[in-house]
C-alpha cells in the first residue's frame, strides 16, 4: 500500500496537476477550448440542411399559370422566392450582388403556348459558385418545374380520355426508387459534424500534449520531472499524459452524446469498438505530440507544424472529397494521418454497421503511430536533462 502511494507516477500526476492549476493556457487547452470548439461546431451543423435559399422569379407572362408556378417554387422548403421582376437584367444584378442564388424565367406567352401545344422554354439560371448551394437550388427548382410540367401533361392526357393511372404511366414510364444505404437521411450534417467534432478533440489532445511536454524544455524543468518520476522517462510521460487522456476521454463521451443521442446519428456497428478506438486515437495523438517535441525541441515550432498536420488530415481523410477522386500520390498520403483511419472506423461502425473484422485493421494502423511516440522517448529524456535544449522558445 505504502509503495503505491509513493509510486513515482503519482508524484508526476500531482506535479502535472499543480502545473495545470497555475497556467491559464493549460486550462484553455483542457477545458475552455475543446468545449467552445465542440459547441460551435455542433451548432453549425445542428440544422443539418439548408432551407429557404433565396431565388428570384422573372415573370414576363403575368398569368394565373405563371403565378402558380411561382407559388409552387416558393412552397418547396429548400428555396424561397425573395424577389420578383419582369426584367432579367435586374435579376442578374441581384445574383451578382449575392442576393439570389437562382433565377427562373417565365417568358411572355407561356400560358398561351402551353394551351396551344407550342414549345415553351423555361430558362433556369443557377449560381454555381458554391457547389453545395447550387446543388440544392438546382434540385429543388428542377423538381418543382418537372412536377408542374408533368401535371400539365397529365391534365392534357386526362382530357384525351386516359384514366389517371394510365396518364401517370404515360408521364413516367419508369420510376426510380431511391434506397440510401447507411445514411438514410442523406444527412451531410452527420457526415461533416462527426468528423469535425473529433478533429477538434484530437487537435486539442495533440496541442495540449505538445504544450505540456514542450513547456518542460522551454522552462528547463526537465530535471524536476525526472526527479519526480524516479528518473524514468516512461513513467514521466505516462504520468503527465494521463490526466489529459482522462479529460479528453470525457470530451469524447460528450461528442458521442451529442452525435448519437441528440443528433440521432446511428450506431449500426459496435459502440464498444468506437469507444476503444477513440481512446486509442487520443493516446496516439498525445504520443505524436511527444515525438514532435523531441524532434524539434521547440514548442512553438511544434505547435505550428503539428497544427498544420492536424488541419490537413480533414482534406486527406476523403470526407469532403472522396479518395477515389484523388491522384494516386495524394491517396497514398492519406495513410500518414491517424485521422484517416479513425474516420474509416466511424463510417464502418457507426454508419455501415460492418462486421468487426472490417474495422480491426484500421485500428491496427492507428496503433502503428504509437511506435513513433515510443521511439522518441529516449531522445526526449536526453533533452529533459540537457540544458542546451532548454529555453528554446
Amino acid at each position: 500500500m505504502q509503495t503505491l502511494i509513493n509510486h513515482p507516477i503519482l508524484s508526476v500526476i500531482k506535479r502535472e496537476a499543480e502545473r495545470i492549476r497555475h497556467n491559464p493556457a493549460y486550462r484553455f487547452l483542457l477545458f475552455g477550448g475543446p468545449l467552445i470548439g465542440i459547441l460551435l461546431l455542433f451548432y453549425i451543423f445542428q440544422q443539418g440542411v439548408a432551407r429557404d435559399l433565396p431565388v428570384a422569379i422573372v415573370d414576363q407572362d403575368n398569368t394565373p399559370l405563371s403565378m402558380q408556378i411561382g407559388h409552387a417554387i416558393d412552397a418547396s422548403p429548400d428555396v424561397a422566392v425573395v424577389a420578383a421582376t419582369s426584367d432579367l437584367s435586374e435579376a442578374e444584378g441581384w445574383m451578382k450582388k449575392g442576393l439570389v442564388q437562382g433565377i427562373v424565367v417565365l417568358p411572355d406567352n407561356l400560358h398561351k403556348n402551353i394551351l396551344q401545344g407550342i414549345e415553351s422554354p423555361v430558362p433556369v439560371y443557377i449560381n454555381g459558385t458554391n457547389v453545395t448551394v447550387a446543388g440544392i437550388v438546382q434540385r429543388s427548382l428542377l423538381t418543382t418545374l418537372t412536377t408542374y410540367s408533368a401535371g400539365i401533361q397529365l391534365k392534357k392526357l386526362g382530357m384525351t380520355g386516359n384514366n389517371h393511372e394510365q396518364a401517370m404511366v404515360r408521364v413516367m414510364p419508369v420510376s426510380i426508387q431511391k434506397h440510401v444505404l447507411f445514411n438514410p437521411y442523406a444527412n451531410y450534417g452527420y457526415f461533416l459534424n462527426s468528423a469535425m467534432l473529433y478533429l477538434i478533440l484530437f487537435l486539442f489532445a495533440f496541442m495540449s500534449s505538445v504544450y505540456s511536454f514542450g513547456n518542460e524544455l522551454k522552462r528547463g524543468t526537465g530535471l524536476s520531472l525526472l526527479e519526480a518520476s524516479g528518473n524514468s522517462v516512461r513513467l514521466a510521460v505516462a504520468g503527465k499524459a494521463l490526466p489529459y487522456t482522462v479529460i479528453f476521454a470525457g470530451f469524447a463521451m460528450l461528442i458521442a452524446y451529442l452525435l448519437y443521442v441528440v443528433e440521432g446519428m446511428p450506431v449500426n456497428g459496435s459502440f464498444l469498438l468506437l469507444f476503444i478506438a477513440q481512446l486509442i486515437t487520443i493516446v496516439v495523438y498525445q504520443l505524436l505530440g511527444v515525438m514532435i517535441v523531441s524532434v524539434t525541441r521547440n514548442m512553438r515550432l511544434s505547435l505550428s507544424i503539428g497544427g498544420a498536420y492536424l488541419m490537413m488530415s480533414v482534406t486527406f481523410a476523403g470526407l469532403t472529397f472522396p479518395m477515389e477522386g484523388m491522384p494516386a500520390l495524394a491517396r497514398a498520403a492519406t495513410a500518414i494521418f491517424p485521422f484517416t483511419w479513425w474516420e474509416k472506423i466511424v463510417i464502418s461502425q457507426s454508419l455501415r454497421g460492418a462486421p468487426l473484422r472490417e474495422a480491426l485493421p484500421y485500428l491496427c494502423y492507428i496503433l502503428v503511430f504509437m511506435l513513433l511516440g515510443f521511439a522518441s522517448f529516449k531522445s526526449y529524456k536526453r533533452s529533459l536533462s540537457n540544458p542546451d535544449h532548454w529555453g528554446k522558445l
Binding site: 402551353i114 444505404l181 442523406a186 498544420a308
Partner: protein, 408 residues
C-alpha cells in the same frame, strides 16, 4: 537610426517600427513558418488533395433481372454517363451486396424482371437505386446520374407513345414536356470541387495565419518582451500611431507577398477561377487585410505568452471556414452564430471575394461588403489605438507613483 537622431520625427518612427517588426519576424523560425511558409504549404497541399476536381466514373453494379434489349439499353445509357461506370453486372442483389461490402462497387442499380414488357405495354416499371449514403458526394453523384438517365429514357418512351398516336416528332416532344426546362449553371459550369473550395479557403488561410502570426510576434505589452517604444516615457503618446502604422506596414508587405503567391500564382497553377480584375480584387482585399491586421494587433495585446496565439486561435480555423459559407451554406446555421462570426473579417470578405473571382462581377457589386470591411478596419483600428493610449497612460501613472513613493 535611433542612434543618429535623438528625436526622430513621426515618419522616421514609422520606418523604425516597420523595419524592427520585419527584422523580428525574419529572425523567428516559428513566425516565419506561419506568416510565409504556411501560405506556400497549405494552398499547395490542399490543392493537391483536390486535384482531380470532379468525381468521374464511379464504379457501380447493375443487376439486370430482365436481360432484354430495353434493359440493356438502359444499362448502356448509365454506363455512358460521365459520372458512373458499370463495372460489374452481378446476377442477383445478394451478389451485388457482397461486391458492395467488399468495396468493389459504390452502389447498385436494379432493373426488375419484365422491365421491357412493362415499358412497352404501359405499366409503370420501377428501377431501384441503392446508393452509399455514408459518403455523400458519391451518393449525390450516383443518384443524379441515374435520375438524368431515367428522365431521358422516360422522355424517349413518352415521345414514342405520342408518335404512335399520330403526332409529329416535334409535337410529340412538346407534348412529353410541356415546360421545356433549360437549366444553366452559371460561373462554374462543371461544378468542380477544388475550384469551388480553394479560393475561399485561401482567404481563410491568409486571415488565420496573420492572426496567429501577429500573436506569435508578441503583444506590445507582453511581459516576456522588452518595451518596443524608442522614445522616452514622456513622449510615448506621439509614438503610438507611428508604432502601429509601422507594424501594420510590415504585415501588409508580407501579405502582399502572400497575395502574389496564394491569390495569383496558386490560382494560375491550378486553374482556379480568375474572372475578376486584379485591381478590383486588391481593392477588396486591402480593407480585409487592414481589418485582419488591426484585429490581430489588438488581440495580441491580450496574450501573455507568444505561443498562446496558436493555442487560442488554431482551432478556430476550420470553424471560421465553415462560418464563411465556403462549403456549408450559411442559411443552414443559427443566426446568432452567423452574427457572431462577423467578428472575423473573412466572413464578410469571402462571399464578396468569390463573386469577384468566380463570377467576375465588378467592384460596384461588392460595394456594401467593401464599405463594411473599411468600417470594420476603422473600428478595430480605433479600439486598438484607444487601448494603446490607455496602456501608455496607466504605465506612466504607475511609474509616476513609483517615483513619488521612492521620493517620499
Amino acid at each position: 537610426m535611433k542612434k543618429n537622431t535623438a528625436n526622430p520625427n513621426s515618419i522616421e518612427l514609422i520606418a523604425i517600427h516597420f523595419t524592427k517588426e520585419l527584422k523580428a519576424i525574419f529572425s523567428d523560425s516559428g513566425a516565419l513558418l506561419i506568416l510565409i511558409g504556411a501560405l506556400l504549404i497549405y494552398p499547395l497541399v490542399y490543392s493537391f488533395g483536390y486535384f482531380n476536381e470532379t468525381l468521374t466514373d464511379l464504379s457501380v453494379g447493375v443487376v439486370d433481372l430482365d436481360q432484354t434489349t430495353t434493359s440493356r439499353k438502359y444499362t448502356g445509357m448509365l454506363d455512358a454517363t460521365q459520372e458512373i461506370q458499370v463495372t460489374y453486372k452481378p446476377l442477383s442483389l445478394k451478389e451485388a451486396e457482397e461486391l458492395f461490402l467488399a468495396n468493389k462497387i459504390n452502389g447498385v442499380i436494379l432493373i426488375p424482371k419484365d422491365f421491357q414488357q412493362d415499358v412497352v405495354s404501359g405499366r409503370q416499371a420501377n428501377v431501384a437505386v441503392y446508393a452509399d449514403g455514408s459518403y455523400l458526394l458519391k451518393y449525390k453523384t450516383m443518384y443524379s446520374a441515374a435520375s438524368v438517365v431515367n428522365s431521358y429514357f422516360n422522355g424517349g418512351v413518352a415521345v414514342k407513345h405520342y408518335v404512335a398516336e399520330g403526332k409529329s416528332l416535334h409535337q410529340a416532344k412538346v407534348a412529353a414536356s410541356p415546360l421545356s426546362i433549360q437549366s444553366h449553371t452559371l460561373y462554374i459550369p462543371t461544378g468542380a470541387y477544388g475550384s469551388f473550395i480553394m479560393p475561399g479557403m485561401i482567404l481563410i488561410i491568409i486571415q488565420q495565419t496573420l492572426l496567429i502570426g501577429i500573436g506569435i510576434m508578441g503583444g506590445t505589452f507582453s511581459e516576456s518582451k522588452a518595451s518596443p517604444f524608442v522614445l522616452p516615457e514622456q513622449q510615448r503618446y506621439r509614438e503610438i500611431l507611428p508604432h502601429l502604422l509601422g507594424r501594420v506596414g510590415a504585415y501588409l508587405l508580407i501579405s502582399a507577398f502572400n497575395i502574389c503567391l496564394a491569390v495569383v500564382l496558386v490560382h494560375h497553377w491550378f486553374h482556379y477561377p480568375d474572372k475578376g480584375y486584379m485591381s478590383d480584387i486588391l481593392m477588396l482585399l486591402f480593407p480585409f487585410l487592414l481589418a485582419v491586421i488591426f484585429f490581430g494587433i489588438g488581440l495580441s495585446t491580450f496574450l501573455k505568452h507568444r505561443e498562446s496565439a496558436i493555442v487560442f486561435m488554431m482551432f478556430l480555423s476550420p470553424i471560421a471556414l465553415f462560418l464563411s459559407g465556403v462549403s456549408w451554406p450559411v442559411n443552414a446555421m443559427p443566426e446568432w452564430l452567423v452574427g457572431l462570426s462577423k467578428i472575423l473579417p473573412g466572413t464578410t470578405a469571402i462571399p464578396a471575394y468569390l463573386r469577384l473571382r468566380t463570377m467576375g462581377v465588378d467592384l460596384a457589386h461588392v460595394k456594401s461588403e467593401t464599405i463594411s470591411l473599411y468600417l470594420q478596419a476603422a473600428s478595430y483600428a480605433a479600439l486598438t489605438i484607444g487601448y494603446f493610449f490607455l496602456r501608455v497612460y496607466i504605465d506612466r501613472r504607475n511609474q509616476n507613483r513609483a517615483a513619488q513613493q521612492s521620493v517620499g
